[in-house]
């Protein structure tokens, strides 16, 4: 390097520095919109009995009536003249119940199995992994059809079969996360302070594994709402007269060309809800789902 000649003034004061790009715009409005929609759906489902709507089973207007400017008739009337809005709101109860409850059951059972497999390894891992892999290898629709034909169609049956369908997914997720966390040194430190297996698994590893597994819940709920729709469409869903979104599509399918709103209304509701769940779920996954650094 060249010697700076004596007497030359040192470089001027620190300059202002470069212009920086503006912080990346976040699509938080989209997430907010989706959260809002989900809140609306959940609220509608919860408040269905007290909303000033005709009961879903009661004939409130003309059969296949066009939408009109009244609360009951806002979305038109179904084949029998029952209020579409009322059926949609009550259907939210069934669809959400099936989706959320089966997803939660799968989450709890799957996380537990995954934790056991990932932490204990060895024979336990071999058995659990074999069972989950076998279940995953089954084409889901075939499995659901098989279950539905053996068991009597009902909300409970639906929940049992759908949770069975999703348990392996959660088990694998939990197992992979457990493997990563269990090799962390804080687990070794706890072992060395005399912690037993229940504490190591329950207090050290599980609290770290759960958030990243739970981040997948919305996406799974979305998938299950679609699954419920498909099963109801095939007549294997919740038996009528209890409305569900899938059942409403099934009821309206014959008249789709003349009265598209009979199918259109529940289909769009499913679409929006599933989309919202996926967008919110993605955000949650980015936030919590990465597991250890």
């Amino acid at each position: 390097m060249s010697i700076v000649e004596p007497g030359v003034a040192p470089p001027s004061l620190p300059s202002a520095g470069p212009k920086l790009p503006a912080p990346r715009a976040r699509r938080s409005w989209l997430v907010a919109l989706c959260t809002g929609w989900l809140a609306l759906v959940v609220l509608a489902a919860l408040l269905a009995p007290v909303l000033p709507l005709a009961e879903y089973g009661v004939i409130a207007g003309p059969p296949r009536g066009k939408p009109e400017l009244s609360l009951d008739g806002l979305l038109g009337y179904d084949v029998l003249g029952r209020s579409m809005l009322s059926r949609l709101v009550s259907g939210a109860q069934a669809s959400l119940l099936v989706g959320v409850v089966s997803a939660l059951i799968a989450f709890v059972v799957g996380s537990f199995l995954g934790l056991l497999a990932g932490f204990l390894r060895g024979a336990v891992d071999t058995v659990i992994s074999f069972v989950t892999d076998t279940l995953l290898a089954f084409p889901p629709l075939v499995m659901l059809l098989a279950l539905a034909s053996v068991l009597r169609p009902s909300a409970e049956t639906l929940i049992v079969s759908l949770s069975l369908l999703m348990t392996p997914t959660f088990a694998r997720l939990a197992r992979a996360n457990t493997l990563r966390w269990a090799s962390r040194e804080f687990v070794m430190a706890a072992t060395n302070m005399g912690a037993g297996l229940p504490r190591l698994m329950g207090r050290e590893v599980l609290p770290n594994v759960l958030p990243s597994v739970a981040a997948y819940l919305p996406v799974v709920i979305a998938a299950l709402i679609v699954a419920e729709g498909s099963l109801s469409f095939l007549g294997l869903g919740i038996p009528s007269p209890t409305p569900s979104w899938g059942g409403m599509i099934s009821d309206g399918q014959d008249l789709i060309s003349r009265f598209p709103n009979l199918v259109f209304v529940p289909a769009v509701t499913i679409l929006l809800t599933v989309l919202a769940l996926n967008i919110v779920g993605d955000r949650l996954r980015i936030r919590f789902g990465e597991g250890p650094r």
Binding site: M1, S2, I3, V4, P6, V8, P10, P11, L13, P14, S15, A16, G17, P18, K19, L20, P21, A22, P23, R24
Partner: protein, 343 residues
């Protein structure tokens, strides 16, 4: 030292990275020159900006980084030149060796292809000729059985061998300047030694410029002509290596040398410490960045702009308001006095 322009001339370089919590001032007004054939050490702790400086020169910055100032390489400003022109310089003019050769090498491409790729593109030679040169290069960097190694994948080699391959790739297009960013940090001492010897050998035999970046003072000391010390994005001291290590002027350099255990200094059970920790790079102290941890701090240290490099004897510059010692005295004797205060 003559009128010839330096090989690399960095002027008042700022590299800032935008984050949600405000800009990280990774490099904040740094000037550095490297002459042809010269070995310059760039020393600092994590967060000092030494690696970001190298990445700026190579154009390997993250998305949200912005720069100002100039980085002249052979008369071309690397900051403003077109992507295509810059690509043409990387390889034949300036090349880089990274800390983690395991990650820097492509895991699914054979060693031979990774070495010859650049030669075919930049030097316009045939693949078979490049293959022959690659064998020569591997021999030069001390890889045994080079012909067979060409068909290996990176995972089949040890860490030391991979770092040799990285160096061979960097040397393939006969660069004028090699930037080595912590080239031996991931390696064991005996292997580190082999790699440092190798870098020395190729530098002198090829007359290549070398920027050796490291957190390890001892490593830089024995094998560079000049050394620059960075702290929190600023350059605090710069000069001939022996002068900087024998008579450090900046309080940070002095404290860093004293708190680094070395086989050269007498054994002391309690080490001298630097209190506190590095400043937040988003909100650096207004004046001297080391002031909050400095034992010689006065109000003058907190004034904005006091940490500019001041000229000294034989190009030994420092940015300290209260420089330690007088040039010529051995500051190392002070290192022995153990610090008695608790942390």
């Amino acid at each position: 030292m003559t009128g010839a322009p330096p090989l690399l001339q960095i002027e008042d370089l700022h590299t800032w990275i935008a984050t949600d919590a405000g800009p990280v001032r990774a490099v904040d007004g740094v000037s550095l020159e490297v002459a042809a054939g010269e070995a310059v050490g760039l020393v600092g702790e994590s967060g000092s900006g030494k690696s970001m400086l190298a990445r700026t020169v190579m154009g390997l910055l993250p998305d949200r980084a912005s720069t100002s100032g100039s980085v002249l390489f052979a008369g071309v400003d690397m900051l403003t030149v077109s992507e295509k022109a810059r690509q043409a310089l990387l390889g034949p003019k300036v090349a880089m060796v990274f800390q983690d050769a395991g990650r820097a090498l492509n895991p699914v491409v054979r060693i031979g292809r990774q070495i010859t790729e650049g030669m075919v593109r930049h030097l316009g030679i045939s693949r078979s000729e490049a293959q022959e040169r690659a064998v020569g290069l591997l021999t030069e960097v001390g890889v045994p059985d080079p012909r067979r190694r060409l068909s290996n994948y990176p995972f089949q080699l040890s860490g030391g061998m991979r770092q040799r391959i990285m160096i061979a790739i960097a040397l393939a297009c006969e660069p004028d300047l090699l930037i080595a960013d912590e080239p031996t940090t991931a390696l064991d001492v005996t292997v580190q030694r082999q790699i440092l010897d190798l870098l020395d050998r190729v530098r002198t035999s090829r007359g290549m410029g070398l920027v050796l970046i490291s957190h390890d003072l001892g490593l830089v000391a024995g094998r560079t002509d000049r050394v620059a010390v960075m702290y929190s994005g600023r350059m605090v001291e710069e000069g001939p290596t022996d002068a900087v290590f024998d008579t450090p002027r900046h309080r940070y350099t002095e404290a860093l040398l004293a708190s680094t255990p070395s086989l050269d200094t007498p054994r002391a059970r309690r080490m001298r410490v630097i209190e506190g920790s590095l400043p937040d790079p988003r909100r650096p102290p207004p004046g001297c960045r080391f002031a909050p941890r400095c034992t010689a701090r006065t109000e003058a240290c907190d004034e904005s702009g006091v940490d500019v490099l001041r000229d000294g004897v034989l190009g030994h510059r420092h940015a300290c308001v209260h420089p330690t010692g007088t040039p010529g005295a051995t500051a190392l004797t002070k290192a022995v006095a153990a610090d008695e205060t608790r942390i």
